[in-house]
């Protein structure tokens, strides 16, 4: 397999694995717990690395993922003491664990083992160099691990779709139906931990947050349906990974950084252009609503008593041009008709009025 294909696949696997979980994190208002977990697994990774001298072997992934769960547990314990609020608990626990990880690296590792910068943004371009032998073929280890994470997450979301959906949107109903929201919560957090650790070598502790949250947030602006949101966020993730890779190679800059930046670009474009949630879409919708309201206001006045334009002027006290516009629109669309000098609503106009009033 060529290096660029390996990198591309690694990025795409990471994007899919992350965005599936990110969708649920986002909907549950837990985006920053994902941020916390991805940082806090660092000491686990360092300790595991000291023991095994690998950052993506399976025992390392599982061991460090346990630290991720521990983080979630610590945050919740701190909140339960009622001495610190939830947001502050997050902001206390993960920097402390992350600092511990950095300290461990500085104390016990050399640059050549685990580069500090690499901790933050990974080094996906090495994905092709770090290989293991499987069935006689050299296979990239990060690609393999992230592929595994993707399969696990796909299976998780597929098997527990109903449970995840219920626990996310109506935890009380979920418990009533015998689905433990707490269990689902910890399963999800376990999956997030495993995925961030698996992504660690390729995209690092901070940029994985982009992979988790940004495609999911973009998809959220495009749809209300959960399954479609999952599909869209995975697709946006893959598209961003590909765009980011191509751009980064062309400019000779960090691939994972560019992937995150590409996710940001997709988000901004969607934010502007999304049909209903987008800035432009909302602007157009608001304009249209204002126009309908103006038409309905004039129709309502005419329905009570037919009037000509100067009488309308007196009643509504609108600027002359504005009233002229509205009246012209009404006549053009056949919503009013002339009865002598005065105007009165047509049956279609009355229909429009009752539809708008409702």
């Amino acid at each position: 397999m060529s290096d660029s294909l390996v990198i591309l696949l690694t990025g795409a696997f990471a994007a899919v694995a992350c965005s599936l979980l990110g969708t649920f994190l986002l909907l549950r208002g837990m985006s920053l717990v994902g941020d916390a977990v991805s940082h806090a697994v660092l000491p686990g990774i360092v300790v595991a690395f000291l023991l095994t001298h690998s950052v993506s072997a399976l025992p390392v992934v599982l061991g460090a993922a346990a630290v991720g769960l521990l983080t979630v547990f610590l945050i919740e314990t701190l909140v339960k003491t009622r001495r610190v609020k939830a947001d502050a608990s997050i902001a206390i626990v993960f920097p402390a664990l992350f600092a511990l990880g950095v300290l461990l690296i500085a104390r016990f590792l050399d640059q050549k083992d685990l580069d500090l910068d690499c901790v933050l943004f990974g080094e996906i371009t090495f994905a092709g160099l770090d290989t293991v032998r499987i069935l006689g073929a050299e296979v990239s280890q990060p690609m393999l691990v992230l592929g595994g994470a993707m399969v696990v997450n796909l299976a998780f979301v597929f098997l527990f779709y109903k449970e995840l959906k219920l626990a996310t949107f109506d935890a009380a109903l979920a418990s009533a139906l015998g689905i433990s929201p707490v269990l689902i919560h910890y399963l999800l957090m376990g999956a997030v931990s495993v995925t961030t650790v698996a992504s660690f070598e390729a995209i690092g502790a901070v940029l994985v947050v982009a992979f988790l949250i940004v495609p999911a947030a973009t998809a959220h602006l495009l749809t209300d349906r959960l399954w479609l949101m999952l599909v869209l966020s995975a697709a946006i993730g893959i598209a961003s990974a590909a765009t980011g890779y191509v751009t980064a190679i062309a400019l000779n800059v960090s691939v994972s950084g560019m992937m995150a930046a590409a996710m940001g670009a997709f988000f901004v474009v969607t934010w502007l252009l999304a049909p209903r949630e987008g800035v432009i879409g909302r602007f157009v919708a608001r304009r249209r609503a204002r126009e309908r309201f103006a038409l309905a206001l004039v129709l309502e006045r005419l329905a009570r008593q037919p009037a000509d334009e100067s009488e309308l002027m007196k009643d509504l006290a609108w600027p002359r041009e504005r009233l002229g516009e509205v009246v012209a629109t009404l006549r053009r669309n056949g919503l009013v008709e002339l009865a002598g000098a005065a105007m009165r609503p047509t049956p279609m106009g009355l229909g429009f009025l009752s539809a708008t009033a409702a």
Partner: protein, 425 residues
């Protein structure tokens, strides 16, 4: 031991701690602890852009003022992006923070690698903004930090009253005609400046801790905002100075992480031992309380046995009989003896005069409370006992006296048992 280099580093770290700790109080109280984290990450591309612009223009591209100005620009942009996202889409705060944090940081990484690969030998040393490199702080860096930090503290002092109202009751602030939204932007702008102050010392990734941990520490020691702000600043400065000093003791103790861990340790200690709120005190109070309830229940049971025995309250009883009343733990006898409330002789236990008085009081509390519940709150007689079992230990004498008076000093409880007043003969 304290040479000029170390003093410089300690001063820088203390300034950062003081500013972040006092300002952080508002972020923590406003439940916006993670804003600092997001904005710190958002500062990274600014540092790189400033460097690029600086070198293109032929300025001193590593001058702290230039780099920090760039940091401030993109951090501020990040703040606007967070506000815009939450205001114009249905995405919540946490998502907006996560998006800004990671995308800005990703762009920063792109620029960083661009500088490193293009930027020949000078290497810029911009990496130190990631984890901070307090050891490389120069007096001119500390001067810039002091100027920026001083500006933040002055602004904080000037707008203190407005921020206070804003934090505790935003609706009230708006109704008083305070420009709540503009004040919020100002407060976040101050967070931006603070974050920028911390960049060279603890770096973008660990900055969150400096804003939150000292403030949360201060919160454990006081309920008053002015005191909390001062304590937060002090805790931050202490963590900064001590952390910087510890990291100078040995090689390979990076300053940023040590400072953060010191601040966290300070918080952990406060969570445990702060008076009143401290977890250890709370646990101690619980243990003491349980012991008191245990002892008082034993005394009450002795009293009840006396009632059944024609009012011979002080007579010795078999320990096993007393404990059998409510399956009390044998420890209860031990505790009561230690307090001088009972005497134990072999298998027998009897109330001392002090124990008798205390027992009478507990029984009186129980029965007056039952009378109150029954007469004034119309609670059914078979529902009274359980509640009175808890309240008898909790009621204080003054309240009870008032209830007793209000009820006209009843002689009997609702079950027809006498309410003891004064010492039995």
């Amino acid at each position: 031991m304290f040479d000029l280099t170390l003093l410089t580093v300690m001063a820088g770290a203390a300034i950062l701690g003081a500013v972040a700790g006092s300002l952080g109080c508002f972020a923590v109280l406003k439940k916006q602890s993670l804003v600092g984290d997001a904005l710190a990450h958002a500062a990274l591309p600014g540092v790189c852009l400033a460097y690029l612009v600086g070198s293109a223009m032929g300025w001193d591209a590593k001058h702290p003022l230039l780099l920090l100005a760039g940091a401030m620009a993109t951090a501020w942009l990040g703040m606007l992006a967070i506000l815009a996202i939450t205001r114009t889409t249905r995405l919540k705060d946490d998502a907006a923070l996560g998006i800004v944090l990671s995308v800005f940081f990703g762009s920063g990484v792109v620029l960083l690698t661009y500088i490193q690969k293009g930027g020949a030998a000078s290497q810029a040393g911009l990496n130190r903004f990631l984890f901070g490199q307090a050891a490389s702080l120069l007096p001119r860096d500390v001067a810039v930090m002091a100027a920026l930090g001083g500006a933040v503290l002055i602004a904080l002092a000037f707008f203190f009253q407005a921020f206070r109202v804003l934090v505790f009751d935003r609706a009230y602030a708006a109704s008083r005609g305070l420009p709540a939204r503009r004040l919020e932007v100002l407060l976040t702008t101050l967070v931006v400046v603070t974050v920028v102050v911390g960049l060279q010392t603890v770096g973008v990734v660990l900055m969150a801790a400096m804003v939150v941990a000292p403030a949360a520490t201060a919160r454990q020691w006081t309920d008053r905002l002015p005191r909390m702000v001062l304590l937060g600043g002090a805790a931050g400065a202490l963590a900064g100075a001590v952390g910087a000093w510890i990291s100078s003791l040995e090689r390979r103790l990076p300053t940023g992480p040590i400072i953060v861990l010191t601040a966290t340790a300070l918080l952990a200690a406060s969570l445990l031992v702060a008076p009143r709120r401290g977890l250890l005190w709370a646990a101690w109070r619980r243990v003491r309380n349980r012991r008191r309830v245990r002892v008082e229940n034993l005394l009450k049971d002795l009293w009840r046995l006396g009632e059944m025995d024609l009012g011979r309250f002080g007579a010795p009883r078999a320990v096993s009989d007393v404990l059998a009343v409510r399956a009390a733990p044998p420890r209860a006898v031990e505790d009561a003896r230690a307090d001088g409330l009972v005497r134990v002789q072999g298998p027998l236990v009897e109330l001392t005069p002090a124990g008798l008085a205390r027992a009478g009081r507990v029984v009186r509390n129980h029965r007056i409370w039952e009378a109150y519940l029954s007469r004034r709150l119309d609670i059914r007689d078979d529902h009274l006992h359980r509640d009175a079992e808890d309240m008898e230990h909790a009621l204080d004498d003054e309240v009870l006296e008032q209830i007793d008076q209000a009820l006209g000093r009843p002689a009997m409880d609702p079950h027809g048992r006498p309410i003891p007043r004064g010492m039995p003969s």
